[in-house]
Homo-oligomer: 513 residues x 2
């Protein structure tokens, strides 16, 4: 028997088996009235109320519903309600400028736009056929409690469930179409490898718009896990919530964990969650020092995932193997800093040019209304990640050596900016670092490091360069270091290198030898 | 992107990520030379050698390969090798009589028959186009090491992977066709709910022919878990292996755990695996006393699964919820004695007549060459389990009240033989019990208990009946009790009630009011 693998499988099980268990704890501090702590029974009722509301509006199957919102219970509900009724959810990055949001709404052809009250004024000019502010306006004007929604006429695992626009490092963002099957397999595989169960408590430290919170909302519901909403990432607040709710599991980019480490330095009393919390790090390769500090200073288990929005996101997973538990902390951290072993069902290979290619049921169906880009990304039946990497022939683990578009080619040598960043970050005076290539007449590019010093710490350019030369081949050391107050990141913690490079390259065609 | 969900996903990951890890530890005590402890790299090589051998024999895609074997590394290899090359594996119950094996070989149309050396003489008359004795004959005469097998021309998740003949309680056994997708989803779901990971060590306490060892071989390989082969079930030997190999996970019917409990009573020193081992019980509803004793006397975590060969087998799973951990042992055991919550993706309902119906990607494709039986079993798009049950409206858990065909109807009342058995089993003098209906002129049927007393214990008919009347409604108490030396069971630990009933019903049409 074949039954369609759809998002409904997750919520159906939550409602059946965890009807009276705490399902979702909304963020108490938000401009809209928070949704009261919802059992999964109540959560499912609210999901049906959204669906009945969309029915009443006349929004048909396959139509797009865009949501621009910070993390909230309402956004979580919509991630189920919209695709479970055969419509397509478009969660939009809340940091985008109004004209960028307008582009996403227009490009996806969304007929409904739902907006966070905090963003309403800024996005006043962004319109759709139906526009609601999340909160009172949707509670009273859209949701239809007690009305059974129209069932989806032909539940199909290959139907598009969500369109997630990639943060975009250069061009206009592209809409990644994920199917129900993509999300189902990602959820099952993620849950399997991270060993999620109903004894877990999950804190939403990821933006939910980002690849649907990596698909975690689905598997958490399916396994009856309490989900605690965190509206805005803040190190000390994360520690407080871990304590208050008995959190056991969180996901986030390295920058998130560095924030927590900073907050932990001035935390009074024992760090909450020691020997209980496990974290999944992704979004950027984590510095080994961060890994070691998480395990030593917080006593949390560090695991790593590699993937992209285009892969739902799970491609690989890394955790310390039992056989490695007794290794020295530094060596364990070095092993953990690799992207990891392909998840069950994922096939990876590295192309002749060094690019990581993937085949998996988590790989996107295509870019919305972009047939050329889709064909290019899926050329030869493999998804082209755009990242450079290597597969360890011994244990099959992937190491990402560089985001391909960020590789620095200096004097004909390819340099992994990640490797240089990792080395600089191991210098005790360094709080943050980004390494970029800047134009150089002789070598094409040369290496520049942008450094944020730790509070109260001192170091000058020659210290940093000497530190690199001590640990790396000479050509990998930066030739210049600039000290900054901060380094801009996307909402998901990624450094936007193209923005850092811009001032140096303006008016120059990037030369690659 | 869609990639086919096939058994290859499991072995591919084992070979990639656990190439040098111990994969399979064969049974040392068997008539054929055991396969040396095999890393997953070596295991995958052996799988390819089987495939190349079948290629050389001219066995085409879709052809059936039957294997009659006690648990062994070779059988484990064949569970991968045959379906991964697009052929169909038919693992046969080693307890069947020669004419029954001949029936299975003929009905499945197997072109290859592989036989355990211990069974060779008894099965001398059972023939197929190609017949090999497992061991030296297959190592030298069939397997082709170093030859790449022909790839499966069109890997398809809906292709039949195995045909497993149901143990059959009345008629000729039927061949349950499981597809790659059935087995893939069962493996993922099983691994998810039992929280399998590479730190586990799995002991094969189940017969591997039985629903492919419940699909465990696949998920264990995919997660890099060491698999220890146990050729024949024996309580003391299970305790020794748990100790020797650091076993953490086992599956089996209640009878297996009762054997272990018996062996533990005379075990010298601490019971191995305390607070480390978890067991999955299925095949028959476990008595609450067994559950309690496993947790108290062995210190092993008890979990339960419900399913059938026709459902790959996973339909439900039950484990003590964190919120229930502090309940009194007896109440915890009572809750654990239920079949459990539907696994992710499984839909259950109870028909008007009380039969449990299921929809899931783990439900069989059909019975091999039995279109009528298939249509009947899948009527209205639901699989008919033949078991009676109820769904708890509070927490969604299924309780199997009776195998439908075994229900006792006495004086118009339906009595769950399981409930009566459970009550009798709670009497301290009782080691084993089976409850059946026997003909009665006035009530149609009346209840008879067949009891095996514990060693050295005494109890008579009136004690047992009084014990039942104390705990159950009067009409549920047996009207007669017979004491026996043993109760016959199938290889999978099921009591074959139809055999127990036969002598009482011979010559009588079973009357149901």
């Amino acid at each position: 028997m074949r039954t369609p693998m759809t998002i409904a499988d997750f919520l159906d099980r939550a409602e059946l088996g965890f009807r009276d268990s705490p399902g979702v704890v909304d963020e108490p501090r938000q401009p809209a009235v928070p949704v009261p702590v919802a059992s999964y029974g109540r959560f499912a009722e609210r999901v049906r109320a959204w669906q009945a509301g969309l029915d009443a509006l006349g929004v048909g199957e396959g139509e797009r519903v865009a949501v621009v919102s910070h993390n909230s219970a309402r956004l979580l509900e919509l991630l189920f309600a919209v695709p479970m009724s055969g419509r397509i959810c478009v969660p939009v990055n809340f940091r985008l400028k109004p004209e960028e949001v307008a582009y996403v709404v227009a490009q996806s052809g969304a007929s409904v736009l739902l907006v966070d009250p905090e963003l309403d004024a800024a996005l006043a000019e962004v319109k759709a056929r139906h526009r609601f502010v999340l909160g009172e306006e949707t509670e009273t004007g859209l949701m239809r409690f007690g009305v059974e929604p129209r069932p989806w006429s032909r539940p199909d695992e290959d139907a598009t469930a969500t369109i997630n626009y990639t943060s975009g490092t250069t061009a206009r963002p592209k809409g990644v179409q994920l199917t129900h099957r993509n999300i189902w397999v990602n959820g099952m595989t993620f849950g399997l490898h991270t060993r999620v169960w109903e004894g877990d408590v999950y804190l939403h430290t990821l933006p939910m718009f980002h690849c649907n919170g990596w698909g975690m909302p689905y598997v958490m519901a399916g396994l009856g896990v309490k989900q605690v909403v965190l509206r805005k990432v803040d190190g000390a607040e994360i520690l407080r919530r871990v304590d208050e709710h008995g959190v056991t599991l969180m996901c986030g980019a390295p920058a998130v964990w560095n924030m927590v480490l900073d907050a932990a330095a001035t935390w009074e009393g024992e760090i909450p969650g020691r020997d209980r919390v496990r974290i999944v790090c992704a979004g950027a390769p984590p510095p080994t020092r961060t890994i070691q500090r998480v395990e030593e200073e917080l006593g949390w288990e560090f695991t790593q995932l590699y993937g992209l929005t285009e892969t739902s996101p799970m491609l690989t997973f890394n955790r310390t193997r039992p056989a490695d538990a007794a290794l020295p902390a530094e060596e364990r951290a070095r092993k953990l800093s690799r992207a990891g072993l392909p998840a069950l069902g994922v096939k990876l290979k590295v192309s002749a040019s060094g690019e990581v290619l993937a085949r998996s049921n988590t790989v996107l169906d295509g870019y919305w209304d972009k047939p050329e880009e889709t064909a290019e990304a899926l050329e030869d039946g493999w998804f082209h990640t755009g990242d450079g990497g290597t597969l360890d022939p011994g244990d099959g683990h992937l190491t990402i050596s560089d985001r391909k578009k960020d590789v620095i080619i200096t004097g004909g040598e390819n340099v992994s900016s990640i490797e240089v960043e990792d080395t600089i970050f191991s210098h005790p005076a360094v709080a943050e670092v980004a390494v970029i290539g800047v134009p150089h007449e002789k070598w094409g590019e040369t290496i520049k490091a942008l450094v944020v010093l730790a509070e109260g710490a001192t170091a000058d350019e020659s210290d940093i360069i000497a530190h690199c030369k001590q640990h790396l081949a000479g050509y990998k050391a930066p030739t210049s270091v600039e000290f900054r107050e901060s380094i801009p990141r996307t909402a998901t913690g990624k450094i936007q290198k193209f923005k850092l490079r811009q001032p140096y390259w303006s008016g120059i065609e990037r030369g690659v030898n």
